[in-house]
């Protein structure tokens, strides 16, 4: 940084140099010039020195480092090398995890370090693992190293991932693997170390967690039971199915399929197979019960075939033919079949008591699967039949999404695991339930209303009227006088949009009972009317034009009362409609007096101040600029914005259809009116394309006072002065 500062200073100085020099004395001139040249040369030299080596150093990033596993250094484990403790079941993030290593971080992202590959052997030279680095673990480590989580700086790392592959316990020598872990330079009782294991335990009792002693290391395990899983510390991960990479199953539309239930697993315990066969006898064709093929020659090919009474089926393609697919526990709780089933968009029927489902910390499996106790296997058919069709379709879609996002590759599995741990360390920046669980199509179509709490605010804070004006002072003053009669008016804010003219002197303004403020804007923009001025202290805002004097006090007060019942909507007076023009194949703006509305004009409308904030800072695309350039359609933009974020229609109050008297409209002239309408139709089409959808909702009702037009003494009505058009 220091270097940069000197550099900047000198550059600044030199650029001024020629102008200064003539005024100096000759003696000084030579002195300065020499000094300057020396500094300059020095700088160039330093610059060369600084930049050159770095560009060499960063070159590995551009060219992939290709090498052989056998190049990895060999490490011999002494027999007496220490063995870690078995792993503490009471470990939780606040006891066994050093959070100081992760530190405060504006990006809220943990840094993960991967140990360089080493080949561990015992004293006689036998490797600690029969497979060494597996393809899957290599994929996983590559994915982490390519991700944002990765750091090669061991001192900055928050999480450490050993390059010792423990995915499959079968191929490991337990004791030696444990010794190798303890040899890692930053092991420190396993603090902040993460191990990935998919196949834990071994014969005969198949433990549900990795048997390798591992001190306090976190375990991302693929077959936890509720007794070995340390909730909030370990991460339950899926068992990766190699078929995910080999077989491409295109996504299938949710809906009923040929078979109702399919069982495709080959290693099912005898007892369960008998029960499945009994179910098959009772329900016939609805159930397809497959087993491995006995007549096929053994080999890789048989993994992709399943048989029923001599008939051969392709696996996993057959999974796409069934609505539900059975995933029973085998020797282990975690089954790779689950991944195949999800890929096929088949709803898994999981029967593995005490199993902790993959990523259950963040995924809502109730929406993607049916979990049945093993004991209830005989009742499976009835249980599944009772699920509504729509729910089955929903679960099929959800199942496929889970596979695509979290199961499909080692990369997906690895990065999901890191994200879960990341969410625990920075919980206030954690991904939400919706982000984890909603498929893209739901994320796109769902609506999360920012004002979701059902709440009718009290009347007392009242509303702030915001009047946008340019120079129609006389009309403005009339509007102010009229609005000031509304009982719930709390404050009046005049937005003075004329930069060339000052607002009238204070003494000339009408005297009203509530505070009146004038804000002057920097530019004459239509958007200024929707700016979230600090002067607006109430949540209710009444946007009103400076020429709207028609509205009675009762109409305005009633509008406010209706807004209180619908604080998340636009509540306005004249309504407008959008229509699909079949001939032109586009949207059309409609201001005729129809039986429907989908917009209200904001020449006078109540709405929540939050929408001002949204309009100013969150309006999608270039809509705001378009509105300011065309000096039109700001109300349509507001209607789009509110409808899009809340999914709700505006409320039209009272029968009023126009702001001006019927005779006044004639002044504008028909042709002007026509171009205006054309432009507004254009706006609708433009906005719909920016939003990517048509958010406006059409309704056929308006809100009137309860006793409106009822045969009842007018003086007893709360809002008698309503009814003119």
């Amino acid at each position: 940084v220091g270097f940069g500062l000197i550099m900047c200073a000198s550059v600044k100085y030199s650029s001024r140099g020629p102008a200064l020099i003539p005024r100096m004395k000759t003696k000084h001139r030579i002195y300065y010039i020499t000094l300057f040249s020396v500094v300059l040369l020095g700088l160039i030299a330093t610059g060369m020195f600084q930049f050159w080596p770095h560009s060499i150093e960063s070159s590995p990033e551009w060219t992939l480092d290709r090498r052989s596993v056998h190049d990895a250094p060999l490490v011999k484990l002494p027999v007496s090398s220490p063995i870690p403790e078995r792993g503490d079941l009471s470990c939780r993030m606040h006891t066994c995890f050093d959070v100081y290593r992760c530190g405060y971080n504006p990006k809220n992202r943990i840094k993960v370090y991967i140990y360089p590959l080493q080949r561990f052997v015992d004293e006689v030279g036998v490797p600690i693992s029969s497979t060494g680095l597996s393809r899957e673990y290599n994929d996983l480590l590559s994915a982490i190293s390519d991700s944002d989580f990765y750091t090669d700086d061991v001192t900055r790392a928050c999480l450490f991932v050993p390059s010792i592959d423990v995915l499959n316990q079968n191929s490991l020598r337990i004791r030696e693997t444990a010794q190798a872990l303890a040899m890692l330079p930053r092991w420190d009782k396993g603090m902040n170390h993460l191990l990935f294991n998919m196949l834990p335990g071994g014969p005969p009792d198949y433990n549900t967690a990795l048997d390798v002693p591992r001190d306090r290391a976190l375990l991302a395990g693929g077959g936890f039971s509720t007794w070995t899983y340390r909730q909030g510390y370990d991460v339950s991960i899926p068992v990766y199915s190699p078929l995910s990479a080999e077989v491409d199953l295109p996504e299938k539309q949710p809906g009923p399929r040929r078979y109702f239930i399919l069982s495709s697993q080959t290693a099912i315990h005898r007892e369960y197979r008998t029960e499945l066969e009994r179910l098959k006898e009772e329900n016939g064709e609805a159930l397809l019960l497959l087993d491995k093929c006995s007549n096929l020659s053994q080999g890789m090919a048989s993994a992709r075939k399943r048989c029923y009474k001599g008939q051969v089926y392709d696996y996993p393609q057959i999974l796409q033919e069934s609505s539900f697919c059975v995933v029973l526990r085998g020797a282990r709780l975690g089954q790779a079949t689950l991944s195949d089933v999800l890929q096929a968009g088949c709803v898994p029927v999981i029967m593995a008591d005490s199993y902790i489902l993959p990523f259950s910390e963040v995924l809502d499996w109730k929406r993607a699967s049916v979990v049945i106790p093993e004991e209830k296997l005989p009742e499976m058919y009835t249980i599944l039949k009772s699920i509504p069709h729509r729910q089955v379709e929903e679960m099929q879609r959800q199942a496929r999404w889970f596979w695509e996002a979290y199961f499909r590759s080692m990369k997906a599995i690895g990065l999901t695991t890191l994200q879960i741990i990341n969410d625990r360390i920075y919980p206030y920046a954690a991904r939400t339930y919706e982000e984890w669980n909603n498929p893209p199509v739901v994320k796109w179509s769902s609506v999360s209303n920012p004002l979701f709490l059902p709440l009718i605010p009290p009347r007392s804070p009242g509303f702030t009227a915001v009047v946008l004006t340019y120079d129609r002072v006389e009309s403005l003053f009339r509007v102010i006088t009229e609005i000031s009669k509304v009982p719930s008016l709390a404050k009046l804010l005049v937005v003075w949009n004329n930069q060339n003219k000052s607002p009238p002197e204070e003494s000339l303004w009408p005297k009203i009972a509530v505070p009146l403020r004038v804000v002057r804007t920097k530019e004459n923009k239509l958007s200024n009317r929707f700016f979230p001025f600090d002067e607006i202290e109430t949540e209710a805002v009444l946007a009103i034009d400076d020429d709207i004097i028609m509205l009675t006090s009762d109409e305005l007060q009633f509008g406010y009362e209706v807004w209180r019942e619908f604080p998340d909507r636009l509540v306005g007076y004249p309504g407008r409609l959008h229509l699909w023009d079949h001939e032109m194949g586009k949207w059309k703006y409609e201001s005729e007096w129809t039986n429907e509305v989908s917009m209200v004009l904001t020449g006078a409308a109540f709405y929540h101040k939050y929408f001002n904030y949204l309009y100013t800072y969150k309006m999608p695309g270039d809509i705001k600029n378009w509105v300011d350039a065309h000096m039109n359609c700001e109300d349509i933009a507001m209607n789009f914005l509110v409808a899009n974020i809340t999914g709700k229609a505006p409320i039209k109050v009272t029968p009023r259809k126009k702001f001006k008297c019927p005779e006044c409209t004639a002044i504008d002239g028909l042709s002007l009116d026509q171009t205006h309408m054309v432009e507004r139709s254009e706006c609708i089409n433009k906005f719909a394309s920016v939003f990517g959808t048509m958010p406006l909702k059409v309704v056929e009702h308006r809100a009137d006072p309860v006793l409106y037009k009822d045969d009842f003494p007018e003086k007893l009505k709360s809002f008698p002065n309503i009814g003119s058009l």
Binding site: I33, V371, R390, N449, N595, E700, V706, K709
Partner: protein
């Protein structure tokens, strides 16, 4: 000389230019480098790409062979594991007998209270809440869950509420059965100095519903973590949250506040002792006092005097209401009263209580309503809270209110939430999804047995992104008088309703003592008429969720209702916009009668209303299910005995769920009079007792709900062109205006 100098100047200027170009020409590596240094993420060596073909982690034949190695039956294996997993390793699989719930559903038995046992007020509330719930059974033979009548709330030996000899008392219970299927409530355990979580007696296989439970002792999906509540916590109803409006921007006067005791030494004292580091007496105000206990002077440290002085300067309530975030640090125990106080005050809780299993953590996603801090990172808390975006604050704050009102505002809600969590485990795949628990109206009002499909409820359209077109409705007509003439109102009504293009089917609920009329006596309509003979012929049967109702929308009708097809059509289109509310025609209102100190009922024409009569109203069929299965037998039987008030009860229920008023739509005048009790026939509306009964009903219902759920509305929905001067031909719903 001059030329030489000029040359020199030129050269130096040129050199400068070269330098500039040099710097400008290498912007990519230069900027990359500086960025990299800031993140600490240097693009160093990545994981290498290996040349050879690596082995898969699982050989293709491994899984196949393994299935057959497992020589032990899977069932035997499970039994063995459940034998091993007792006590602290208890889980539903090993310590709970599901078979007890299979026969009679989820029923809860409360042991009878023994004379001489003193029971605290809070525990009395808990027991009363269970006894008043729909889960209660007095027959232990039917029960799935057992609750002790021995007060186990306070297990602090130094407390006056402490019950002695609990061990012996528990062991002597005949139904104890080693604690199997028992639920034990507890608020305080352990005592000074170590505050262990041991209850001082052997709980065996019983489940714990415990406050301040730590993650280490919490048995996931077996225990339930409940909030710490004071003895003044209301039994039912409870206050609403303090949030009245969503101000924008959402920041309040203070950013973060806390006011509480400081313990100086011993367990749980570290965090509170360190709070002064973060306190800035401007927007972060964290106050502690050393003054508590008799001999605080003995332990006081150098900071005590200044802390105590600062402490007295601020008022707790004022801070609570005017702060965006409220710090909830652990006390001696993990949980503290500050948690519920902050939640109610819409002050977003910032948790500093490492290892506390948060209340109802099994179902509530606390990240949506609180900031979970780490005691070890106390100094980062101010910057963390400042980094939270205002949109997030707006949403966190609203969620505190939703959670407070849905699960915490009364002892009854806390108890019911506990029971429903266990109920969900018993229901297994039928249990509520996380979405049901964390969205309005919450788990207590969302009964999962109704349907596992979220779209079948009226609440989840927005989060699901589904906008179902409820294109049709089912009319349910409640018939109580025999069919004698062809001019009876019911026949006119049938014809009018059937003419609606939105009508899918008509169900006549025959609640008349006379036998069913012959089929041919019903008018011929294009929609099917299904006649259901009511078994018990009681009022509540009109709200039974009959399986023959196939549409989401139900139009509930009295037999003497007079309604035109247009009115039905318009009301139905309105209901489509408000499927979670009741949409009806004649409205009624309630008011607080200050003189008599009770709720009053009025059928007068007023400027507002809070109920619509269900003699003619649209609502979602889920409310039929809720009416039948959620409400207690006591209220339903009251309705049946009086043959009255069923509409009031339905309005109470729907408003309690939605927290919103019903919707009144416009109607023809003639109909109004009918409903005002001026019919020619002696209907129930003409009965003078009728009105008094309804007043009594209101007060009875309000006391069961613990609060008055009804909400007033001042508006009525009319067709857009209602009473407009445009030609009547342009109007879609023109009949409504014709007299």
């Amino acid at each position: 000389m001059q030329a030489k100098k000029r040359y020199l100047i030129l050269v130096s200027a040129g050199a400068c230019l070269v330098l500039l170009l040099f710097l400008g020409g290498l912007p990519v590596p230069a900027s990359r480098r500086s960025q990299v240094q800031r993140d600490g993420h240097r693009p160093g060596p990545r994981w290498p790409r290996f040349l050879e073909h690596l082995q898969p982690f699982v050989p293709w034949d491994q899984t196949e062979s393994e299935g057959y190695i497992a020589h032990m039956s899977a069932r035997q294996k499970r039994d063995a594991s459940s034998g091993l997993n007792q006590g602290r390793r208890c889980r539903m699989d090993s310590c709970f007998d599901f078979s007890l719930c299979a026969k009679n559903g989820f029923k809860v038995y409360v042991y009878p209270q023994q004379k001489g046992d003193k029971i605290s007020e809070s525990y009395q509330s808990i027991l009363a809440s269970i006894e008043g719930s729909r889960f209660y059974t007095s027959d232990p033979g039917q029960a799935c869950l057992f609750v002790l009548s021995l007060d186990t709330l306070d297990r602090d030996q130094l407390s006056p509420q402490y019950v002695h000899n609990l061990k012996a008392k528990v062991q002597s219970l005949s139904l104890w059965n080693g604690g199997r299927n028992h639920l034990i409530f507890n608020l305080y355990s352990g005592t000074w100095p170590d505050y262990t979580e041991d209850l001082g007696f052997d709980i065996g296989q019983a489940m714990l519903a415990k406050a301040s439970i730590s993650m280490e002792n919490f048995r996931p999906n077996f225990d339930v973590s409940i909030p710490l509540f004071s003895k003044d916590h209301p039994r039912t109803g409870g206050e609403r949250g303090f949030l009245k409006y969503n101000s924008i921007p959402p920041f309040r006067k203070y950013m973060l506040v806390f006011k509480g005791k400081r313990y100086l030494t011993g367990i749980g004292s570290d965090t509170r002792n360190a709070l002064y580091h973060v306190h800035n007496s401007e927007d972060v105000v964290l106050l502690t006092t050393c003054k508590h206990g008799k001999d605080w002077q003995k332990h006081k440290d150098a900071r005590c005097d200044t802390d105590n002085a600062e402490y007295d300067k601020y008022e707790y309530k004022e801070m609570l209401h005017n702060s965006t975030f409220c710090l909830v640090p652990r006390g001696r125990r993990l949980g503290s009263f500050r948690f519920l106080e902050a939640l109610q005050a819409a002050c977003i809780p910032v948790m500093l209580s490492n290892g506390w299993e948060l209340p109802f953590s099994e179902v509530i996603d606390w990240n949506t309503a609180a900031v979970i801090g780490d005691e070890r990172l106390l100094l980062q808390i101010p910057s963390t809270t400042r980094s939270i975006h205002q949109d997030k604050i707006l949403s966190l704050r609203q969620q505190t209110q939703f959670l407070w009102e849905a699960y915490f505002s009364s002892v009854e809600k806390i108890v019911l939430t506990t029971l429903e969590i266990i109920h969900d485990r018993v229901l297994q795949h039928m249990g509520r999804s996380s979405l049901m628990w964390n969205n309005h109206p919450g788990g207590l009002f969302t009964l999962p047995q109704y349907s596992s499909y979220l779209g079948h409820f009226p609440f989840f359209y927005a989060p699901l992104g589904e906008w179902p077109t409820h294109s049709k409705f089912t009319a349910v007509i409640h018939a109580v008088s025999p069919l004698v003439s062809q001019s009876q109102p019911i026949l006119k009504l049938l014809v009018a309703v059937a003419k609606s293009p939105y009508c899918a089917q008509i169900i006549v609920l025959w609640n008349c003592d006379k036998p069913l009329p012959a089929k041919h006596r019903w008018p011929a309509t294009s929609q099917p008429i299904i006649v259901i003979e009511g078994e018990s012929k009681v009022m509540s049967s009109r709200f039974v969720p009959y399986s023959s109702i196939l549409t989401d929308a139900v139009l509930s009708l009295d037999e003497d209702t007079v309604l035109s097809t247009t009115e039905v059509d318009f009301a139905f289109t309105v209901w489509q916009s408000f499927p979670e509310r009741i949409v009806g025609y004649p409205a009624r209102s309630h008011f607080w009668d200050a003189n008599k100190e009770r709720w009053g009922y009025t059928s007068k024409w007023t400027n507002d209303y809070s109920m619509v009569l269900t003699g003619a109203a649209f609502y979602h069929r889920y409310y039929n299910y809720l009416y039948t299965n959620y409400l207690p037998a006591s209220l339903k039987s009251m309705v049946d005995q009086l043959s009255n008030c069923e509409d009031i009860l339905m309005n109470f229920l729907v408003s309690a769920v939605t927290k919103m008023p019903p919707i009144k739509v416009t109607q023809k005048k003639q109909y109004k009079e009918t409903m005002m009790g001026q019919t020619t026939r002696a209907s129930r509306w003409a009965d003078p007792d009728h009105f008094a009964q309804r007043q009594t009903c209101m007060n009875k219902f309000a006391s069961w709900f613990g609060t008055m759920p009804l909400v007033h509305s001042q508006m009525r929905l009319d067709p857009i062109l209602f009473k407009d001067q445009v030609s009547i031909l342009r109007k879609k719903y023109r009949d409504i205006e014709r007299l």
